[in-house]
Amino acid sequence: MSSADFAIETEDLTKVFRSLVRRREVRAVDGISLRVERGLSFGLLGPNGAGKTTFVKMLLSATHPTAGVAKLFGVPAQSPRARLPIGYLPENHRFPTYFTGVGMLDFYAALSGVGRRTRKRRIPELLEQVGLAGWGDVRIGKYSKGMLQRLGLAQALMNSPELLILDEPSDGVDPMGRIHIREILRELEAKGVTIFINSHLLGEVEALCREVAIVHRGKVILRGAVKDLTAGKGYRLTAVNPPEGLLEDFRRRSAGFEVADGRATFQFPNREAANRAVDELRAAGCEIESLVPTSHTLEEVFVKTLADQS
């Protein structure tokens, strides 16, 4: 694979903030090497102060790396050319309130190199897409937080980006709005747009991203496909009124168990153990209510990974 096959490619990317007065050093990003393939939806996770935002800012050349290299589609990140195919929605954005929705989209699109004719066509389309049709001529000082977030997303899409970098994209957005944003992002992913999300909302990242990386103290401590990281925990078996003898036996063999309202639920570590239990229960004339594979949630993976580190 050549460098241009990766939407994002960093090698030993490092940022050290130095305080001249106190002579203190903070290693915000510590040698991160990361490759994100074109067309992938990727989530960057980490606790507050882990270095996620600094990493993103270095990709956008808003912050200069102390060491290492960052490339976007094979072009060094410090070159303006690297930012041509990028749409970005910053966290805690502060759009100038003197803009109307249309004015704001027009201004940032012009800076992205979008021609006047395309801007004129794209603005109503995108306002419609993010659910702000009819709000284009209103000053954005009057927008709610959720509306600003939607407008920010429209802004990031104005130049039809190949890489969309979103910092907390659904921050302040109501549940319906979140679903709407998720649908928009899924459509973009289906069109081959690379989506890079930096978020604290693990459920959202789990629902949207195919791959994730967890950053802690400036380093990537875990990276992998969401389905691999969350899969393989075991099977949950629920039976109706199992005989007392089997109940005691299963208590010893299962990883966890619970009895309530005449139903017993057992957690088995693998498929074989679950199947053997089903056979024994059926042989004893017991009814099986359900057998479902269980997985880790991304939140469990996240918490466990951080706990292992500390």
Binding site: F17, K57, L60, S61, A62, T63, H64, P80, R81, A82, R83, L84, I86, Y88, P90, N92, H93, R94, F95, P96, T97, Y98, F99, G103, F107, Y108, A110, L111, S112, G113, G115, Q155, I165
Partner: protein, 274 residues
């Protein structure tokens, strides 16, 4: 070009929204109206009547012409002092506002070079003030011309000179804005330079008064290093009075100062982390 136009237009939009443009425009309009009022008073009406009576050959024309130039010179001085201070004060927030967290990151994420952002903002700001200077000078020039029939074009150079010296001082505003993000500090430093300028301009007198060579060198050094607001103001007056300007050094040395300061601002802005 598209990017420059967008950045300049954005500066105008912000100047309108913050009432900076309209504030300067309102003051200029008040000044023009004040002139209209002044032109109605007897002494000027009398002078104007005299010139009408005796026509172009009248010996009184010289007096009226002198009066017109005096008035124009006063306008130039007003622009140089209060007008300039007001313009600096009004412009001091336009750079720090761009550097606000949450706004600058988005600007920097666009395929725009950092020097472009600073210079686009600088040009936009200079144009906001330049348009108001042109409006005021052309307004006063038209009223005086209409009332007296005298249209000395030299007064129009006031637009260029005033805009030039504003552009020089705006460079300082930009530099302070980029480093400290403080509109108040930017105003203080720039006004201090304006106050310092007529003092430093007395270098010939000071060279006689100062006892040691090194103190004379410091005085000379400061005079040549800093913008010559006072000297360029004197040049403007010379132009208005059709006097020959022999020394253009204050002009080019102030331009060099502005170029260095803007280059420094761009360099610092380019290296900053946001």
């Amino acid at each position: 070009m598209r990017i420059t136009v967008a950045l300049v237009a954005d500066t105008f939009r912000e100047a309108f929204a913050r009432k900076i443009f309209w504030g300067l425009f309102g003051l200029s309009t008040l000044m023009i109206l004040f002139f209209l009022f002044i032109m109605k008073i007897d002494i000027i009406e009398g002078a104007v009547a005299t010139i009408s009576l005796f026509g172009q050959q009248s010996p009184r024309q010289w007096e009226v012409g002198r009066l017109v130039r005096q008035v124009q010179s006063s306008i130039a001085v007003f622009l140089y002092t209060w007008g300039m201070a007001l313009a600096v004060f009004a412009s001091s927030g336009l750079i720090p506002s761009v550097l606000e967290p949450g706004r600058i990151e988005l600007l920097l994420s666009k395929p725009v070079r950092r020097w472009h952002i600073i210079t686009g903002r600088y040009v936009g700001n200079a144009l906001v003030v330049g348009l108001n200077i042109a409006y005021l000078v052309l307004g006063v020039w038209s009223i005086l011309g209409w009332k007296t029939g005298l249209w000395p074009k030299a007064f129009l150079f006031t637009i260029l000179f005033t805009l030039f010296i504003f552009a020089v001082l705006l460079a300082v505003v930009v530099l302070i804005g980029v480093i400290f993000e403080s509109p108040a500090l930017a105003t203080m430093v720039t006004v201090a330079l304006m106050i310092l300028s007529p003092i430093l301009a007395q270098k010939n007198v000071m060279e006689r008064l100062l006892s040691s060579e090194w103190s004379r060198n410091i005085w000379r050094g400061l005079y040549w290093a800093l913008p010559k607001v006072y000297d360029v103001g004197r040049m403007t007056q010379d132009y208005v009075f059709d006097r020959t300007v022999e020394n253009y050094a204050p002009l080019w040395s102030s331009a060099a100062f502005a170029a260095v300061v803007i280059a420094l601002a761009v360099l610092i802005f380019s290296r900053r982390d946001f």
